[in-house]
Amino acid sequence: MTERVGVYVCHCGSNIAGTVDVEGLAQWAQANLAGVTVARDYKFMCSSLGQELIEQDIKEQGLTRVVVGACSPHLHEKTFRKACSNAGLNPYLCHMVSLREQVSWVTSDKRLALEKAKALISAGVRRVQLHEELEPTEVPVNPNTLVVGGGIAGIQAALELADAGYQVYLVEREPSIGGHMAQFDKTFPTLDCAACILTPKMSDVGQHPNINLLSYSEVEEVSGYVGSFHVRLKKKARYVKEADCTGCGICIEKCPKRVVDDVFEAGLGYRKAVYRPFPQAIPKFPVIDRANCTYFERGTCRACEKFCPTNAIDFEQSDAFLDLDVGNIILATGYDLFDCAKIPQYGYGRLANVFTSLEFERMCNAAGPTEGKVVLRDGVTTPRSVALIHCVGSRDKRHHPYCSAVCCMSALKFGHLVMEKTGADVTSFYIDMRPLHKNYEEFYDRLQQEGMHFIRGRAAEVTDAARLPGEEGKLIVQAEDTLIGRQRRVPVDMVILLGALQPRADARETALRFGISCSMDGWLTERHPKLDPVATMTDGIFIAGTCQGPKDIPDSVAQGAAAAARVQGMITTGTVMIEPIVASIDEARCSGCRICNNLCPFNAIDYLEDKGVSFINAALCKGCGTCVAACPAMAISGAHFSYDQISAELEGILYDAVRGNGHAVATPEPAAAGG
């Protein structure tokens, strides 16, 4: 070994130094590890001074390899690689050892911590000496972007990009964009009308020359990689020719079939079999709901067809498939509302006048089933008293352990609307009031002044079993008022359940389809919880809005814009560096057994009939290394994770192991394994 290795141990303030004897570790490395030219410890390696230290040594001491013992490579690998290249050293000749996440933060015993740190450093030193210079491949970034989900987050992202002059494909699975926000009446804390602020943005999307709106469509398949993804879309049959439809709505008028609208009206209202979710729908074209259409059921009716002035109805239409090429993808797939019937003690589905928050949003909406009138299930009676129950399915181990973040504010908003529209008495049953953002606490204060009642206690049950005078014919909410430590029964006419925000039922499939990960709950996982909230582990795929976690409209909009900004950065740069961590096949060694061919889920491996060997397409290879491990002839090598590099790391990591037993035996070598 003629490599000159520099070892740098970071104190990370006291994060590492507090547990690991960093000076001792550096000295030990210098004294005991073959190839180490210089070993230093420094307060903050990631600081500019720390980086300069490395650059200086590379130049002055002629270092050919660098090992940095600091935090997780996921945080600062880029930083130190950059420092190396600044000093003219190929960035891939640098290796990071995680002394913080893997040693100091998880170990209490200082002696054992130092032992472990030594092993990891020695592994790094051995490994790095076998590193090869690698050049990331530079690929062009297709300037077109796919935005999945037409809720407020997706709309914001699409508009930001389109206004910046880039082509956007906006995919929405429902007949219209707008998402949950389109269902709402007012928005907290300003109480401006959701439609008034949303519909202009929706029509901008509809008219924007740079936005190709694909509603009633879903992503079927995604392949490729950052800069050039290939996406296959399914455009579900509308049975309405968009080219001919004027959106006059006569078909809807004439359709004889009325069905409960479980999606847009949250089950509180009806729609026709041919429908447009709401008047301001974008696009304006209606959809024929095949499952409920009389013609599709019985082969007769065709009323819509008869009356359509432009013959836009087409019962023969079938699903169409569309192939798109895009450089980046933004996922804004939104959330589902918790199924409140899963908490039977609240009586949803059994007690007529128990409503969900979404039902109530529709009820308050002037365009909703009750024209904005707050009434009981009978559709006519105005409630004189209303109870709001927080945390329905949230902060509950049996359902969702997390706080849904928006319910407290929704409750305050509902309280205001109920009082404004009906003058009814409103009581909120809360565990903790969490009005977290700008002007939210003030809104809470306002509602207190407006006379809304607050009981600190999670509602135990809602019952129609009257027990005391004044309870007959009412719904009784029973809870402990924890501030006085007494049980209370509050008789009301109407109960509104603030159901949890939960991940889309198909969130896992979505994550899998786009090659990103999601949490145990099903929220899509960001690259870094604080410092990289809209990127994902997969380059070129970003997330925005409630698909990443519960959040309100301002946060969703901010994330949509942030994701768009990230994509713009990619586009303006024009190219993207692809990690050179890929596999390649040594034709001389390849026996053409083809075992590897079907192992690759990205079809990066082809078999060259003429040469009788397999070949790996570097552009398609994602570098998992499975084929490398599978090749019986050891003909495939994985860049940066080669057999020799990993073996060396192993030897280093076990430098202090007792080999009395094992060492006597020749360790299995490639040749032997060749068979």
Partner: protein, 186 residues
Amino acid sequence: MHGPSSDADFLAEVIATTPGAETLITCLQCGTCGGSCPSGPDMDHTPRHLFAMINAGLRDEVLRSNTPWYCVACYYCMARCPKDIPITDLMYSLKRMAVREKLYDDRDAPDWSTSFIGMVDSYGRSFEFGLATRYHLTHSPLKKVGVGPMALEMFSKDRMALRPHRIKGMNQLRAILDTAKAQEAV
């Protein structure tokens, strides 16, 4: 309200004697238990409040509380607790601790339980009539005046036995119970 009697180990002690009660430290103080409790109105502290007191180490006040003795073991609190706290079992634990340390103001409930156990220990079965007599004669008989007719009804409907049934394996049962009680003592 904290006093000289604050006992830092009380929480740990309560958890240790209750299967699965580690979750007690995650109590949200949401009051679902207190709101669900059928006899909540009769308790001097709601279960939730009691948990806060346990957390504060108010050993004496907690063990003197009538709350556990008013628990009807309906398990509503346990079925609804968003933090999976085994509340009913905690009530049993508090009763046992109170009995061991003779910390209860109203003797009725503890004595009822003790009389019941007396029956089981000597016959292997419970014996309502014996139980009623043993308990009510030694115990606030006045309270029971109203119940007289009911007892008569039960006799007349042949629903109250006058003689206890002793199980065959009484010695076996005793051996088992004695061993178990010895464990408890440890």
